[in-house]
C-alpha cells in the first residue's frame, strides 16, 4: 500500500455535552468548529473543505441534516460532504477527512460532528425503533437496548463473565469524566451502584448505559507541509480502517466483533503496527455501554478474546494503569451525542498526545494511541491510529 501524504490533526474543539442544549444544531456545530480553528490560529478562509459526521436525522428531526448544518459547520461555498456509518460516524469522519487530504485534492479539512438528540420527543428511544428492519423486526416492537442486551448476554455467556467485571468499566469511566470539563455524567459511583441500578433489559442496567446527549466536536486536519507551518506539535493520523458486517445481525455470533478486528487490522497495517498490545500506549474504544469497551478492546486486539474483563477488574485499564482505556471518561462519563462522541475520542487522543489533557493526562510518554467507534446493528467498526 502506498499512501502519498501524511495527514495531521492540528486543532480540536468541542462543546459541553448536555442532556438538552438551548443551542440549535447549527450553533453547536459552530461553537465546536470555531474552537477548533481558534486552537490552531486558523480562519475559515484557511479551510479548503469540510466533512460532517452526524448520526440519524430522526434525532435532530431534520431531513438531510447535513445540508441543514452547512453554515454552522463553516462550509459556506466550500466542498462539503456528510459521511455516515451510524454510531461509527464519529471516528469515520476523521477518516473521511484524511481521505480528502491524502488524495492530494486538499491541504486542509475541517471535520465537524454534531448531534442534537433532545429534539426527539418524548425520548430519542422512539427514533431508534426505526433502525430495525421495517418488515421482519419492527413489528415486534423492539427497543434499542434489546440488541445490546442480546449481544452483552452472549458475550458474558461465551466467556463466563460475571457482571461486576463489566460494571467496573462504568465506574472507571464516570470517574475519569470528573476531570473532563465537558462531561455530562461525571460521577463517583461503585460497582454495587451499577449492579443495583434499575434493570432495563437484563443484563443491561441503568448505569451500564451512556446518556443521550446534545453536543458537537471538531478537528482541523492538514497535510504534512501545511501542518508543520501551523504547529510545532502536529499529531499524525497514521492508520485508518473501517469495516461493515452483514445487516443480518441475527445470523452472526455476537460474542466477538469481527468487523472491529478487520477495521483494526486495516489501520494497524497502514500504521506499521505489528503488535498492538505492545505498541499502543493508550486507547479510546467506543463505550456507549460498559461491556462495549471490553468487547472493543478485544476487537482492537489489545488483549485476547475474553481477557478484557479481567484487565478492567485488575485495574490495568485505569488512567494510571499499564494500558489506560478511555482516559477521557468516554461516552459513559462525558456523554453520547453519537457522532460528536466518537470525534471527542479523536480530540482526546490529540490532547493526550500533545500532553495538553491536564488532569486527564495519562502518565509516562504516550506516543501511539488508537480510537475506535462502532454502530449500526452491532455491525460497523471504525478505527484511527494517531502518533505524536
Amino acid at each position: 500500500m502506498i499512501t502519498k501524504k501524511r495527514v495531521a490533526v492540528v486543532g480540536a474543539g468541542m462543546t459541553k455535552f448536555m442532556r438538552r442544549a438551548q443551542e440549535t444544531g447549527k450553533e453547536l456545530a459552530y461553537e465546536a468548529a470555531r474552537m477548533a480553528l481558534d486552537s490552531c490560529g486558523l480562519g475559515i478562509e484557511d479551510i479548503e473543505c469540510v466533512t460532517m459526521g452526524s448520526a440519524p436525522d430522526a434525532f435532530d428531526g431534520v431531513h438531510m441534516k447535513g445540508e441543514y448544518l452547512i453554515d454552522g459547520a463553516g462550509a459556506w461555498r466550500k466542498p462539503y460532504m456528510r459521511n455516515y456509518v451510524g454510531g461509527g460516524t464519529g471516528v469515520f469522519a476523521p477518516i473521511h477527512g484524511w481521505q480528502h487530504i491524502a488524495s492530494g485534492l486538499f491541504d486542509t479539512c475541517l471535520v465537524v460532528c454534531e448531534e442534537k438528540m433532545s429534539s426527539c420527543r418524548p425520548h430519542p428511544q422512539a427514533a431508534f425503533l426505526t433502525i430495525f428492519d421495517n418488515l421482519t423486526e419492527r413489528p415486534l416492537g423492539p427497543n434499542l437496548v434489546w440488541i445490546f442486551a442480546l449481544e452483552m448476554h452472549r458475550y458474558m455467556h461465551v466467556h463466563k463473565i460475571p457482571k461486576e467485571k463489566i460494571a467496573v468499566v462504568s465506574v472507571k469511566n464516570k470517574r475519569n469524566a470528573m476531570d473532563h470539563p465537558c462531561a455530562q455524567l461525571a460521577q463517583k459511583i461503585t460497582v454495587d451502584d451499577v449492579l443495583n441500578s434499575e434493570i432495563l433489559a437484563w443484563p443491561v442496567q441503568r448505569l451500564d448505559i451512556s446518556p443521550t446527549s446534545d453536543g458537537a466536536a471538531a478537528i482541523v486536519l492538514a497535510s504534512e507541509d501545511v501542518a508543520r507551518k501551523i504547529t510545532d506539535s502536529p499529531v499524525w493520523i497514521d492508520g485508518v480502517g473501517w469495516n461493515l458486517d452483514t445487516a443480518y445481525w441475527t445470523n452472526r455470533d455476537l460474542y466477538y466483533p469481527q468487523y472491529v478486528e478487520n477495521a483494526a487490522r486495516m489501520a494497524y497495517e497502514m500504521a506499521g503496527i505489528k503488535n498492538p498490545r505492545e505498541e499502543i500506549d493508550f486507547a479510546e474504544p467506543y463505550d456507549p455501554f460498559d461491556y462495549k469497551e471490553l468487547h472493543h478492546m478485544e476487537g482492537l486486539m489489545l488483549c485476547k478474546k475474553g481477557e478484557a474483563p479481567n484487565l478492567a477488574w485488575e485495574g490495568v485499564t485505569q488512567r494510571d494503569g499499564k494500558l489506560p482505556i478511555c482516559p477521557s471518561g468516554g461516552l459513559l462519563g462525558v456523554g453520547n451525542p453519537i457522532a460528536a462522541a466518537g470525534l471527542m475520542k479523536i480530540c482526546e487522543l490529540f490532547w493526550q498526545l500533545r500532553r495538553e489533557a491536564g488532569k486527564r493526562q495519562v502518565p509516562g510518554d504516550p506516543r501511539t494511541a488508537v480510537a475506535q467507534a462502532w454502530g449500526d446493528l452491532m455491525q460497523v467498526g471504525t478505527v484511527v491510529v494517531m502518533r505524536a
Binding site: R20, A21, Q22, E23, T24, K26, E27, Y30, A33, R34, L37, G43, I44, A58, G61, D71, G72, G74, W76, S119, C120, R121, A126, A127, L129, T130, N134, L135, R138
Partner: protein, 159 residues
C-alpha cells in the same frame, strides 16, 4: 438480470405500510430566542451584523456564515422591505389543492442583506412583482407567542 427467481404474479407482491413515528420539540437557539422574543414583545425585527464583512443577517445568527466570525452586534431593522422573489402556491404539503392560492416571497428588509421568507396577503397574485415594497403585518400582542408566525404576513406598503 441478477436474480434467478422473481415474482411472476401481481398477487405475490406484498407491501407493508409504516412510518417514522416521532415528534419534535425544537429550541429556537441562542440567536433565535432573542429574535423571536423581540418580535413577540415589541413587534421588532432584529438582525446581527458582522463586523468583518458588514453583512446584516436576518434572521440573526451568532456567527457569520461567510467569515465564521462570532456576531455580537445586534441591529434593529425596519419592518419594511422589498420582494426579491415570489411564487404562488396552489397545493398544500399533502398535495391537496388550496381553496385560495397562497403567495410566498423572499422579502429583503431595508438595511438587511438577507431576505425573510414569508407569506404575502392583502394583494392579488397578479399584482405582485419583484421589487414590490411590502411591510410586516404583526399579529396583535396578545396573540403573539414567539414564532415567525407572529408576523402574520407581509402586505403592500401604503404608497
Amino acid at each position: 438480470m441478477g436474480l434467478t427467481e422473481k415474482i411472476r404474479s401481481p398477487r405475490d407482491m406484498i407491501h407493508v405500510e409504516g412510518e417514522i413515528p416521532v415528534n419534535y420539540l425544537y429550541t429556537a437557539g441562542v440567536a433565535g430566542e432573542r429574535f423571536l422574543r423581540e418580535i413577540k414583545e415589541n413587534a421588532k425585527i432584529l438582525g446581527t451584523k458582522c463586523r468583518r464583512c458588514n453583512t446584516v443577517h436576518v434572521p440573526p445568527k451568532i456567527y457569520c456564515e461567510r467569515c465564521f466570525e462570532r456576531l455580537d452586534e445586534w441591529v434593529e431593522l425596519p419592518s419594511e422591505g422589498q420582494v426579491e422573489a415570489f411564487t404562488t402556491c396552489h397545493f398544500d404539503p399533502d398535495g391537496s389543492r388550496l381553496a385560495e392560492p397562497e403567495i410566498l416571497a423572499a422579502i429583503r428588509l431595508r438595511d438587511a442583506d438577507e431576505s425573510i421568507v414569508h407569506r404575502i396577503k392583502e394583494v392579488h397574485a397578479e399584482g405582485v412583482y419583484i421589487g414590490m415594497k411590502v411591510k410586516a403585518a404583526f399579529k396583535e400582542k396578545k396573540d403573539r407567542v414567539g414564532s415567525v408566525l407572529d408576523i402574520d404576513h407581509f402586505k403592500l406598503c401604503a404608497p
